[in-house]
């Protein structure tokens, strides 16, 4: 007499606990198991800037939200249907986001007077009725875990560490997640620590069995697979997809991948990932600071490698002078900015889009760079390749603006066929390019305006370049006023002339008056908002910019063909300002600077306002 099963089209689950409780791992595992079932999904990890803020405090709370369903999912969900809290701090920190009626699973063992007072609960919320409007499951998670592990020779502390697996097991039962994957994962992870392995497996199964056997949970749920394009899938986060994109680009270009970087949240994982890729001939150089990181990348590019530097906002500020050198030398350089909350140190672990204008203008002189941005975690792969292609083919610094949200968030990814990745042709100069047999390093390809690029080791093309203004063609130092004016305009023309595809607008109705235009990681919430608006009968068009400098050639026309254009940004309207300045179109900005992605609801409401205005 197994329990009744309810079918749902989508669910949002949030795991919340102490930084030490392993919520990120728990979320990751549930995500893999979910992906395996063929649901579409998006995730949102959220952790404190401190490595381990003090146990049991609100700042110490770490959470992981997962949104999965039987249809296309593009956001981690506005608010959880199920909230799992491992201690009072986690409840305190997350209850505000949790709508009445939601299910809350609580480890009541942790709700001691001491822990409660730590976060300012005078009485125990799971007993004082303050949570009556929620479906509360208060379980002795800790003691059940410890109990299940009694047969092992572990200290209580060690045993308690497995309580996250107990919770995972329980949730896996509730939502019919397969267990084999996680069991394999644990077996691999703790291969060297049989006792710990045993503890985790036991707790995991105990959690599952608890759901299966006890009365506490009357029903379980299933969420059917989402219709997805045929093919082989994996789950991937933005930083990993980006790392893979860089490796792929170097392969299709046939050049060495060189990363010069200095660790910084939330960009460090790209360094970590690429550091593993020695067998691809990838060189990672952990520099003494950001300036050395980009400097070394420029040096490598000068030698013919694909020079990359990765950082976040404060690092961009430091790199800006050296990036200007890259502009003057016209060397390939990819600058990856995984944006975080600013200004200054700001909110290191939170997301934001506030480095756009810095990327555009944060250098002395007229110093144009290409700027592009990925829209989703998996999109980082393609955009990284695109950044490398432009950098190599046009000999120019290219900014890739990711952010903390897509960097750490993840989604299913249809694994591309490596042969389908278009080759990148660097065509280096190998012989003189002028009648008199001289080599002119600043002679340009009439098509792309890319300069002739000869790398050291190329016989007969020895030449010198530098950051002082250079004479057209020869590249020699020149203080000539007319030459300077020409070179400034030529560098600008080169970047403005980078070929980028037209902007595609999604407007099934073909009758929309309002266009919602975004860039970067706002894609998900904008997409979801536009979908739900259409479901409620509104005609809304959506377009998303991958190329910000240069803009797609048809952007002006697109803007002109809508009565109103709404531009949601996680800043104070930086893209909006660029568009207004460029096209004199009075776009409506919708700005939030909360260190968090937009919720679908926020954008729905903002769009409704514009529709009704």
């Amino acid at each position: 007499m197994s329990k009744p099963v309810v079918t749902l089209d989508q669910v949002v689950i949030r795991f919340a606990g102490d930084s030490g409780d392993g919520m990120q791992l728990t979320g990751d595992r549930f995500t893999s198991d979910t992906a395996m079932l063929g649901n579409d999904l998006r995730t949102l990890p959220n952790y404190p800037a401190e490595i381990r803020a003090p146990q049991g405090t609100v700042p110490g709370v770490s959470s992981f939200q997962l949104h999965f369903g039987d249809h296309h999912i593009q956001t981690p969900g506005d608010s959880p249907d199920v909230l799992v809290v491992m201690n009072p701090a986690a409840l305190k920190a997350n209850i505000a986001d949790t709508p009445r009626g939601a299910t809350i699973i609580v480890d009541k063992d942790e709700f001691t007077t001491r822990n409660l007072s730590k976060v300012g609960y005078a009485t125990n919320p799971i007993e004082d009725g303050s949570l009556d409007s929620y479906k509360i499951h208060a379980l002795p998670l800790t003691s059940m875990t410890v109990g299940a592990l009694a047969h092992l020779t572990l200290t209580r502390k060690e045993a308690e560490r497995s309580k996250n697996m107990f919770a995972l097991g329980l949730l896996s039962w509730m939502y019919h997640r397969p267990t084999t994957l996680t069991e394999e994962f644990l077996t691999a992870k703790f291969a060297k620590k049989p006792e710990i392995l045993e503890a985790n497996l036991t707790a995991y199964r105990a959690g599952w069995n608890y759901g299966e056997t006890t009365e506490d949970f009357a029903v379980s749920y299933e969420v059917r697979p989402a219709p997805m394009e045929k093919g082989l899938y994996r789950n991937i986060s933005g930083n990993i997809a980006l790392s893979y994109g860089l490796v792929a680009a170097a392969e299709v270009a046939g050049v060495q991948l060189f990363l010069g970087s200095y660790p910084i949240t939330p960009a460090s994982d790209i360094l970590h990932e690429l550091a593993k890729m020695k067998s691809f001939g990838v060189v990672t150089f952990q520099a003494e600071d950001e300036i050395a990181g980009v400097g070394a990348a420029l040096g490598a590019s000068y030698g013919g490698a694909l020079g990359i530097t990765t950082t976040s906002g404060p690092g961009i500020a430091l790199k800006s002078e050296a990036i200007g050198l890259g502009v003057m030398l016209e060397l390939p350089l990819v600058i990856i900015d995984v944006q975080r909350g600013g200004p200054s140190t700001g909110l290191p672990t939170k997301t934001e889009q506030s480095d756009l204008l810095q990327a555009m203008y944060g250098r002395n002189g007229e110093s144009p760079c290409v700027v592009i941005a990925p829209a989703t975690p998996s999109d980082c792969f393609e955009v990284a390749i695109e950044a490398c292609r432009i950098a190599l083919e046009y000999r120019t610094p290219v900014f890739l603006l990711s952010d903390g949200y897509i960097a750490n968030g993840s989604e299913p990814w249809l694994i591309p066929n490596v042969d389908s990745i278009p080759k990148i042709t660097v065509n280096l100069a190998t012989e003189p390019n002028s009648e008199n047999g001289e080599f002119l390093p600043y002679l340009r390809d009439p098509e792309t305006l890319a300069r002739a690029f000869a790398v050291p080791g190329t016989k007969g093309l020895e030449h010198r370049i530098g950051g002082v203004e250079k004479a057209d063609k020869t590249g020699a130092i020149s203080y000539d006023p007319a030459n300077h004016d020409l070179m400034v305009r030529t560098r600008a023309a080169k970047v403005a002339g980078v070929k980028v595809p037209d902007l595609v607008v999604d407007d099934p109705s073909d009758m929309a008056d309002v266009l919602v235009l975004g860039w970067g990681s706002t894609y998900g919430p904008i997409w979801a908002a536009v979908q739900s608006l259409r479901e409620t009968g509104h005609n809304v068009a959506q377009a998303h910019l991958r190329y910000i400098n240069p803009f797609p050639k048809n952007l002006g026309e697109v803007l002109g063909s809508y009565k109103k254009v709404l531009v949601p940004e996680m800043n104070l309207g930086q893209l909006a300002r660029m568009i207004r300045g460029e096209y004199l179109v009075d776009v409506v900005g919708f700005d939030q600077v909360r260190g968090m992605p937009f919720t679908t609801e926020q954008i729905v409401n903002a769009t409704l306002e514009v529709l009704s205005a």
């Binding site: 395996m36 394009e229 899938y233 893979y244 020695k278 691809f280 050395a292 400097g295 010198r464 950051g467």
Partner: protein, 334 residues
């Protein structure tokens, strides 16, 4: 092989040299141009990377590959190039401001990593290009445009700093001493890994005569302590001896028994001896050791990097992009 037949002319670029008349940079340039053929490398395999400063104009005048980069960053840029292209001979040209003011951090890190770059520090103890402000090597109390009442900073000894930063090769020489400069360049070129050469360079415009004691025929023999491996460390009138506490001191030859005189050894692993030598010359240049202070073997940085890459590749096999993208956690749809 053509490179063997290269001459000074082959290394002189067509650019007209733009330094003030009498600038010490001229003699360094011409000595370098004469020396380069010795490397036995074709021109295209040689790269000079400089920062900003009068001295940093140097690469323009050599018919090799070259980059006149930005202020202070040449060691970082050169490190990147040297790592990426171990086949090249990479030289850094820098000034006392470029390398010790704004570029100090890159310098010490390049040295500790033992990056395969040869760093020529043109030390004129002044900011030349910006028209004469005191530098980190200017003597305390120096009157300059930015210190009209005298500078208050204690100067660095570039040699001491480099030794404190784990440098494997450190030397000092003089712009005008062609022969000594040449042999010092030779030693640096032969060293595997990072080499720092401090070159005393006269700036006739903003710091003229800064190095007269080591140049004037009537003083230099007394002042200069020429370091030659295995030879006693002496000037014409003085000798270097050890005192009780591990430091070195300079005594009149007359007062020392030859057996006490320190015999130079550039290959001691412990940098303490070289460090002691570096303390002999205060900013007043009473006694100035020149030559190779330290030259010890340590695996060069790019060697280690490429070794690791090939070791890992040998162990794991050449990376397979398709396998990388797929990873371990996949599922099939349809």
């Amino acid at each position: 092989m053509p490179e063997l037949t290269l001459t000074k002319k082959d290394f002189s670029s067509d650019q007209e040299v733009r330094w003030c008349p009498g600038c010490g940079d001229y003699s360094i340039l011409s000595t370098m141009q004469s020396f380069l053929p010795e490397l036995g490398l074709p021109r295209e395999k040689i790269v000079f990377i400089s920062g900003i400063g009068c001295s940093s104009r140097f690469p323009y005048y050599l018919d090799t590959y070259g980059m006149h980069s930005i202020h202070g960053r040449a060691p970082a840029i050169a490190t990147g190039l040297a790592i990426s292209r171990p086949d090249l001979s990479v030289w850094v040209i820098t000034g006392d401001g470029d390398s010790l003011s704004i570029g100090g951090n890159h310098l010490i890190h390049a040295l500790r990593r033992n990056a395969d770059i040869k760093i020529l520090l043109f030390n004129n103890r002044i900011y030349g290009l910006t028209k004469g402000q005191y530098s980190p090597t200017s003597e305390k109390g120096k009157i300059t445009k930015s210190s009209p009442y005298g500078s208050l900073d204690t100067p660095f000894s570039p040699i001491s700093l480099a030794l404190g930063a784990e440098a494997s090769f450190v030397a000092r020489t003089i712009d005008s001493d062609r022969q000594h400069l040449t042999q010092t360049l030779r030693a640096a070129a032969a060293h595997k890994g990072a080499a720092l050469i401090e070159i005393y360079q006269n700036c006739p415009i903003f710091n003229d005569g800064a190095f007269d004691p080591v140049k004037d025929s009537d003083t230099k023999d007394d002042v200069l302590l020429r370091l030659e491996h295995g030879a006693p460390v002496v000037s014409s009138s003085h000798a270097v001896v050890r005192d009780g506490i591990g430091s070195l001191s300079v005594k009149p030859l007359s007062e020392v028994d030859p057996s006490q005189i320190v015999l130079h050894d550039a290959h001691i692993q412990d940098p303490t001896y070289a460090f002691a030598l570096s303390r002999l010359s205060g900013s007043m240049l009473e006694h100035v050791p020149v030559g190779v202070f330290r030259d010890v073997e340590r695996a060069p940085f790019s060697k280690l990097i490429h070794q690791q890459i090939s070791d890992v590749t040998a162990k794991e096999g050449k990376g397979d992009l398709a396998a990388l993208l797929a990873g371990s956690d996949t599922w099939q749809v349809g």
